[in-house]
Protein backbone atom coordinates (compact mmCIF):
# COMPACT_ATOMS: atom_id res chain seq x y z
CA UNK A 1 0.00 0.00 0.00
CA UNK A 2 2.89 2.36 0.72
CA UNK A 3 4.01 1.97 -2.89
CA UNK A 4 0.62 3.17 -4.09
CA UNK A 5 0.81 6.00 -1.57
CA UNK A 6 4.18 7.01 -2.98
CA UNK A 7 2.81 7.04 -6.53
CA UNK A 8 -0.07 9.25 -5.46
CA UNK A 9 2.09 11.64 -3.47
CA UNK A 10 4.52 12.00 -6.35
CA UNK A 11 1.59 13.18 -8.49
CA UNK A 12 0.42 15.70 -5.90
CA UNK A 13 -2.26 13.67 -4.10
CA UNK A 14 -1.79 13.67 -0.33
CA UNK A 15 -2.33 10.27 1.30
CA UNK A 16 -3.19 8.85 4.68
CA UNK A 17 -2.94 5.12 5.27
CA UNK A 18 -4.84 3.26 7.97
CA UNK A 19 -2.89 0.51 9.71
CA UNK A 20 -3.85 -2.36 11.96
CA UNK A 21 -0.26 -3.58 12.03
CA UNK A 22 2.06 -0.87 13.38
CA UNK A 23 5.09 -3.14 13.13
CA UNK A 24 4.61 -3.30 9.38
CA UNK A 25 3.94 0.43 9.18
CA UNK A 26 7.25 1.08 10.87
CA UNK A 27 8.99 -0.85 8.12
CA UNK A 28 7.29 0.64 5.08
CA UNK A 29 7.03 4.22 6.34
CA UNK A 30 4.08 5.37 4.33
CA UNK A 31 3.84 9.16 4.23
CA UNK A 32 1.12 9.45 6.88
CA UNK A 33 -0.20 6.53 8.89
CA UNK A 34 -3.05 6.33 11.34
CA UNK A 35 -2.74 3.21 13.50
CA UNK A 36 -6.16 1.92 14.47
CA UNK A 37 -7.15 -0.44 17.29
CA UNK A 38 -9.12 -2.79 15.08
CA UNK A 39 -8.32 -6.25 13.81
CA UNK A 40 -7.23 -7.29 10.35
CA UNK A 41 -10.21 -7.02 8.05
CA UNK A 42 -11.95 -4.12 9.80
CA UNK A 43 -9.49 -1.22 9.59
CA UNK A 44 -12.16 1.50 9.62
CA UNK A 45 -13.87 0.13 12.70
CA UNK A 46 -16.39 -2.49 13.71
CA UNK A 47 -19.20 -3.27 11.27
CA UNK A 48 -22.34 -1.15 11.55
CA UNK A 49 -20.64 1.30 13.94
CA UNK A 50 -21.09 4.26 11.65
CA UNK A 51 -20.14 6.87 14.23
CA UNK A 52 -16.84 5.14 15.01
CA UNK A 53 -16.10 4.77 11.31
CA UNK A 54 -16.86 8.45 10.78
CA UNK A 55 -14.49 9.51 13.54
CA UNK A 56 -11.71 7.29 12.20
CA UNK A 57 -12.10 8.65 8.68
CA UNK A 58 -12.34 12.24 9.92
CA UNK A 59 -9.19 11.86 12.03
CA UNK A 60 -7.34 10.27 9.14
CA UNK A 61 -8.21 13.03 6.71
CA UNK A 62 -6.99 15.70 9.10
CA UNK A 63 -3.57 14.01 8.99
CA UNK A 64 -3.35 14.66 5.25
CA UNK A 65 -2.41 18.23 6.06
CA UNK A 66 0.65 17.24 8.08
CA UNK A 67 3.83 17.71 6.09
CA UNK A 68 6.41 16.24 8.46
CA UNK A 69 6.46 12.83 6.83
CA UNK A 70 6.82 9.96 7.45
CA UNK A 71 4.31 10.41 10.23
CA UNK A 72 2.60 7.84 12.44
CA UNK A 73 -0.29 8.66 14.74
CA UNK A 74 -2.42 6.38 16.84
CA UNK A 75 -6.17 6.73 16.85
CA UNK A 76 -8.00 6.30 20.11
CA UNK A 77 -11.77 6.43 20.72
Amino acid sequence: MSLVAAALESRGVATVTLSSLPEVSARVQAPRTLVVPFGLGTPVGPPLEADTQLRVVGSALELAYEIGVPLVRTWSP
Partner: protein
Protein backbone atom coordinates in the same frame (compact mmCIF):
# COMPACT_ATOMS: atom_id res chain seq x y z
CA UNK B 1 -4.77 10.90 18.37
CA UNK B 2 -1.45 10.12 19.93
CA UNK B 3 2.08 10.15 18.66
CA UNK B 4 3.78 6.75 18.45
CA UNK B 5 2.65 3.26 17.85
CA UNK B 6 1.42 1.80 21.12
CA UNK B 7 -2.25 0.92 20.89
CA UNK B 8 -4.64 -1.98 20.78
CA UNK B 9 -3.65 -2.60 17.18
CA UNK B 10 -2.68 -6.09 16.04
CA UNK B 11 0.80 -7.29 17.00
CA UNK B 12 2.72 -9.73 14.88
CA UNK B 13 3.04 -12.09 17.82
CA UNK B 14 -0.76 -12.31 17.94
CA UNK B 15 -0.98 -13.71 14.42
CA UNK B 16 -0.88 -17.37 13.44
CA UNK B 17 2.63 -18.70 12.89
CA UNK B 18 2.18 -18.82 9.11
CA UNK B 19 1.54 -15.08 8.92
CA UNK B 20 4.17 -14.16 11.48
CA UNK B 21 6.67 -15.89 9.24
CA UNK B 22 5.36 -14.43 5.99
CA UNK B 23 5.16 -10.87 7.28
CA UNK B 24 8.46 -11.13 9.09
CA UNK B 25 10.32 -12.53 6.10
CA UNK B 26 8.72 -10.33 3.46
CA UNK B 27 11.04 -7.73 1.97
CA UNK B 28 8.91 -4.68 2.62
CA UNK B 29 9.74 -1.89 0.25
CA UNK B 30 9.64 1.75 1.01
CA UNK B 31 10.30 4.86 -1.00
CA UNK B 32 13.02 7.07 0.37
CA UNK B 33 12.86 9.96 0.84
CA UNK B 34 9.18 9.70 1.56
CA UNK B 35 7.30 11.81 -0.99
CA UNK B 36 4.99 14.42 0.47
CA UNK B 37 2.23 16.25 -1.35
CA UNK B 38 0.61 19.32 0.12
CA UNK B 39 -3.13 19.56 -0.59
CA UNK B 40 -3.92 22.70 -2.53
CA UNK B 41 -7.36 23.09 -1.01
CA UNK B 42 -8.36 23.08 2.69
CA UNK B 43 -10.10 19.94 3.89
CA UNK B 44 -13.52 21.61 3.82
CA UNK B 45 -13.02 22.16 0.09
CA UNK B 46 -10.96 19.09 -0.74
CA UNK B 47 -11.97 16.22 -2.98
CA UNK B 48 -11.33 12.90 -1.26
CA UNK B 49 -10.92 9.45 -2.82
CA UNK B 50 -10.63 5.96 -1.38
CA UNK B 51 -8.06 3.26 -2.12
CA UNK B 52 -8.76 -0.17 -0.69
CA UNK B 53 -6.78 -3.40 -0.87
CA UNK B 54 -9.83 -5.52 -0.06
CA UNK B 55 -10.01 -6.82 -3.61
CA UNK B 56 -13.38 -5.19 -4.29
CA UNK B 57 -14.69 -5.55 -7.82
CA UNK B 58 -17.63 -3.55 -9.20
CA UNK B 59 -20.26 -5.12 -11.42
CA UNK B 60 -19.01 -5.86 -14.90
CA UNK B 61 -15.31 -5.58 -14.04
CA UNK B 62 -12.87 -8.42 -14.34
CA UNK B 63 -12.18 -10.29 -11.10
CA UNK B 64 -8.69 -10.21 -9.65
CA UNK B 65 -6.48 -13.13 -10.55
CA UNK B 66 -6.19 -15.09 -7.34
CA UNK B 67 -3.52 -17.37 -8.80
CA UNK B 68 -1.21 -14.79 -10.38
CA UNK B 69 2.39 -15.48 -9.51
CA UNK B 70 3.63 -12.75 -7.19
CA UNK B 71 0.10 -11.43 -6.83
CA UNK B 72 -2.20 -9.51 -9.14
CA UNK B 73 -0.92 -5.89 -9.20
CA UNK B 74 -3.83 -4.50 -11.22
CA UNK B 75 -6.57 -2.27 -9.89
CA UNK B 76 -10.25 -1.74 -10.43
CA UNK B 77 -12.06 1.58 -10.64
CA UNK B 78 -15.18 1.86 -8.47
CA UNK B 79 -17.48 4.65 -9.66
CA UNK B 80 -18.87 6.67 -6.76
CA UNK B 81 -22.44 5.70 -7.58
CA UNK B 82 -21.80 1.98 -7.25
CA UNK B 83 -24.02 0.29 -4.70
CA UNK B 84 -21.84 -1.11 -1.90
CA UNK B 85 -23.96 -4.24 -2.00
CA UNK B 86 -22.98 -4.80 -5.62
CA UNK B 87 -19.25 -5.00 -4.87
CA UNK B 88 -17.77 -8.48 -5.06
CA UNK B 89 -14.75 -9.51 -3.02
CA UNK B 90 -11.88 -11.26 -4.82
CA UNK B 91 -8.97 -11.67 -2.46
CA UNK B 92 -6.52 -14.52 -2.15
CA UNK B 93 -5.43 -13.88 1.42
CA UNK B 94 -7.05 -15.62 4.35
CA UNK B 95 -5.06 -13.57 6.87
CA UNK B 96 -7.92 -11.24 7.68
CA UNK B 97 -11.42 -11.70 8.98
CA UNK B 98 -13.97 -11.38 6.18
CA UNK B 99 -17.02 -11.48 8.41
CA UNK B 100 -16.87 -7.75 9.07
CA UNK B 101 -16.88 -6.71 5.44
CA UNK B 102 -19.62 -9.24 4.71
CA UNK B 103 -21.78 -7.44 7.24
CA UNK B 104 -20.74 -3.89 6.41
CA UNK B 105 -18.48 -3.09 3.46
CA UNK B 106 -17.70 0.28 5.06
CA UNK B 107 -15.16 -1.44 7.31
CA UNK B 108 -12.85 -1.61 4.28
CA UNK B 109 -14.46 0.92 1.94
CA UNK B 110 -15.84 3.78 4.04
CA UNK B 111 -17.85 5.51 1.38
CA UNK B 112 -20.75 6.18 3.76
CA UNK B 113 -18.43 8.10 6.10
CA UNK B 114 -17.02 10.13 3.24
CA UNK B 115 -20.48 11.01 1.99
CA UNK B 116 -21.54 12.07 5.47
CA UNK B 117 -18.43 14.24 5.87
CA UNK B 118 -19.28 15.90 2.57
CA UNK B 119 -22.89 16.51 3.64
CA UNK B 120 -21.66 18.04 6.88
CA UNK B 121 -19.25 20.30 5.02
CA UNK B 122 -16.17 18.79 6.63
CA UNK B 123 -14.76 17.78 3.26
CA UNK B 124 -15.47 19.37 -0.09
CA UNK B 125 -16.55 16.52 -2.35
CA UNK B 126 -16.33 12.77 -2.69
CA UNK B 127 -14.23 11.66 -5.66
CA UNK B 128 -16.18 10.38 -8.65
CA UNK B 129 -13.98 7.28 -8.84
CA UNK B 130 -12.32 5.16 -6.18
CA UNK B 131 -9.61 2.53 -6.51
CA UNK B 132 -9.41 -1.12 -5.48
CA UNK B 133 -6.35 -3.37 -5.34
CA UNK B 134 -6.16 -6.92 -4.07
CA UNK B 135 -3.08 -6.63 -1.89
CA UNK B 136 -0.98 -9.71 -1.10
CA UNK B 137 1.42 -8.66 -3.86
CA UNK B 138 4.70 -10.39 -3.14
CA UNK B 139 6.40 -9.29 -6.38
CA UNK B 140 5.54 -5.59 -6.67
CA UNK B 141 7.67 -4.71 -9.71
CA UNK B 142 4.73 -4.31 -12.10
CA UNK B 143 2.78 -2.48 -9.42
CA UNK B 144 5.52 0.12 -9.08
CA UNK B 145 6.26 0.46 -12.78
CA UNK B 146 2.80 0.35 -14.25
CA UNK B 147 -0.32 -0.05 -12.16
CA UNK B 148 0.34 2.33 -9.26
CA UNK B 149 1.26 5.22 -11.59
CA UNK B 150 -1.84 4.56 -13.70
CA UNK B 151 -3.98 4.45 -10.57
CA UNK B 152 -2.50 7.75 -9.45
CA UNK B 153 -3.38 9.13 -12.87
CA UNK B 154 -7.05 8.41 -12.24
CA UNK B 155 -7.03 10.56 -9.13
CA UNK B 156 -5.01 13.29 -10.84
CA UNK B 157 -7.51 13.34 -13.70
CA UNK B 158 -10.34 13.63 -11.19
CA UNK B 159 -8.57 16.42 -9.29
CA UNK B 160 -8.48 14.45 -6.04
CA UNK B 161 -6.67 16.31 -3.26
CA UNK B 162 -6.55 13.64 -0.56
CA UNK B 163 -6.59 9.84 -0.76
CA UNK B 164 -7.48 7.60 2.16
CA UNK B 165 -5.72 4.25 1.81
CA UNK B 166 -7.42 1.34 3.52
CA UNK B 167 -5.41 -1.89 3.63
CA UNK B 168 -7.01 -4.99 5.06
Amino acid sequence: MDEGEDSDAVRLEDLPLKYRFLIGAYRWRRVSPTPCAVPQRPLAEARVGLVTTAGLVPPGAEPFDLDARGGDPSFRVIPAGTSPHALAVHHRSDAFDRAGMATDINVVFPLAALERLAREGRIGTVAPRHLSFMGSITAPGRLVRDHAPRAAGVFVEDQVDVALLVPV
